[in-house]
Symmetry: C2
Subunit: 251 residues, 2 copies
């Protein structure tokens, strides 16, 4: 089982879009996949959830240890997910004084041992607070999602510093498993320039597949569909399937 | 003096870009403007700062009450700003137990009384935590910055709920002063649809000026320039100047 956190404290770079569509892509390639929405904004949950599905228990109860895995897993077409809720937004202050507050997610995911999931993908919020710290403590790999723009590069040093601290104190297995470049428009020199900088800095860690700017990816969430369900022929579907293949083949 | 917080817990919708360029636009129209970077990511600071400028004191020291206004104000071409720093990212946990923790910014800004600033604009982080709460307690107006996409609409109810709570308990003067629609591309039906929904919901509060998707706005930050300094003829410069005029004329 491979556990991966999709992260970047910069907002709006495609973390949620990537978690959902890499997950759905891996499911299309025959893998068993669990997604976890760890963002209080619950955008992953909104993007997948059919309104009829009641959300009794979410990742919030899981972190507090007041529910078991089978109570929070929701089935979607081809993969599973654990929803978030707006209750989570108080978690930062509420859980601050819990013993081993950074390991709440890791302790809950112990219940996954012996399950037949191949991949567990976690969507992180746009900050480096306690929820992101929980994800970094629970997983083995981090995928940094980067928009091909300058503002998205600023602040990377803070993220890399935090990863080092987590490796030293909380999770020695943690690694940066890959860099996903998103929202790429080959008509914009800016995007070409920034991707060049990203490759200079991270080298082979950068996935060959670059996710192009594609409006179908922005439309799919309001239909509560993955890109494959919404428009299987779109650039977005092609790119995320290609990325899922790269990940499956052990990039 | 008008104090305005630019907010939306959704990431990457154009909060920082709007704070800088509305500020610069108002300065171009002869107004005296102070910008405040309240985001630990410090994107506003990065977008304006010439590397030579040393940052001794930032908004972090201001919130802790360990510095005075004149020590943190930095002069930019035509307007002033107060920088943020990555030290601020610990503020959520660090300030959680301070008495009147929501009023730390308001208490600091008391020093602005008697100054000749016409506008104080605050760039908020992509969450509804303690820093955003400080902004909402300190200002009279909130501008909600909305990308013309569905994910940006999701979660608005949480923001509106928080505004109500702040109005009741911390700041009875607080109002939603306006809605700024950003990243608009008139070739995408999605954008037209969503802007329609926004106008249906918020009515007259939506500014007539819509900020178009314009790559110059994404390029300017890496040159540490406002859009007017970087490319005064761009769509971005035209749109933000038109928006600044709307704001100045008391929309
Ligand atoms: N490749 C793409 N092409 C076009 N639109 C995209 C693409 N990827 C994401 N989007 C859209 O851009 C916006 C931001 O993406 P998304 O919400 O996935 O980013 P995020 O990093 O998860 O944001 P947050 O920081 O708020 O969690 C959304 O409206 C999404 O639909
Ligand atoms: N109208 C626009 N046209 C094109 N690009 C834009 C526009 N507005 C903002 N951008 C770019 O989109 C990205 C997101 O904008 P910005 O950083 O201002 O959003 P934000 O809401 O402040 O993000 P965060 O939630 O991380 O604070 C940046 O790379 C910015 O340069
Ligand atoms: Mg997200
Ligand atoms: Mg910002």
């Amino acid at each position: 089982m491979r556990t991966i956190a999709f992260t970047n404290q910069k907002g709006g770079v495609g973390k949620t879009t990537s978690t959902i569509n890499v997950g759905a892509g891996l499911a299309k390639l025959g893998k068993k996949v669990l997604l976890i929405d760890l963002d209080p904004q619950a955008n992953l949950t909104y993007s997948l959830r059919m309104h009829s599905q009641r959300l009794d228990k979410t990742i919030y109860q899981a972190l507090k240890g007041s529910t078991k895995l089978s109570d929070v897993v929701i089935k979607h077409n081809g993969f599973d997910y654990i929803a978030s809720s707006l209750e989570l937004s108080g978690a930062e202050l509420e859980l601050a004084n819990e013993p081993a507050r950074e390991s709440l997610l890791k302790n809950f995911l112990v219940q996954l041992e012996g399950s037949d999931y191949d991949y567990v993908l976690i969507d992180c919020p746009p900050n480096l607070g306690l929820l992101t710290l929980n994800a970094f403590t629970a997983v083995e790999d981090i995928f940094i999602v980067l928009q091909s723009e300058y503002l998205a590069l600023h602040g990377l040093s803070k993220l890399l510093d935090l990863i080092k601290v987590v490796q030293q104190r909380l999770n020695s297995k943690l690694e940066v498993g890959g860099i996903i470049c998103t929202l790429y428009d080959n008509r914009k020199n800016l995007n070409k320039e920034v991707v060049g900088h990203i490759k200079d800095y991270f080298g082979k860690k950068v996935f060959n597949t670059i996710i192009r700017d594609n409006v179908a990816l922005a439309e799919a969430p309001s239909h509560h569909k993955t890109i494959f369900e919404y428009d299987g022929n779109s650039n977005g579907a092609q790119d995320y399937l290609a990325l899922a293949k790269e990940i499956k083949n052990g990039h």
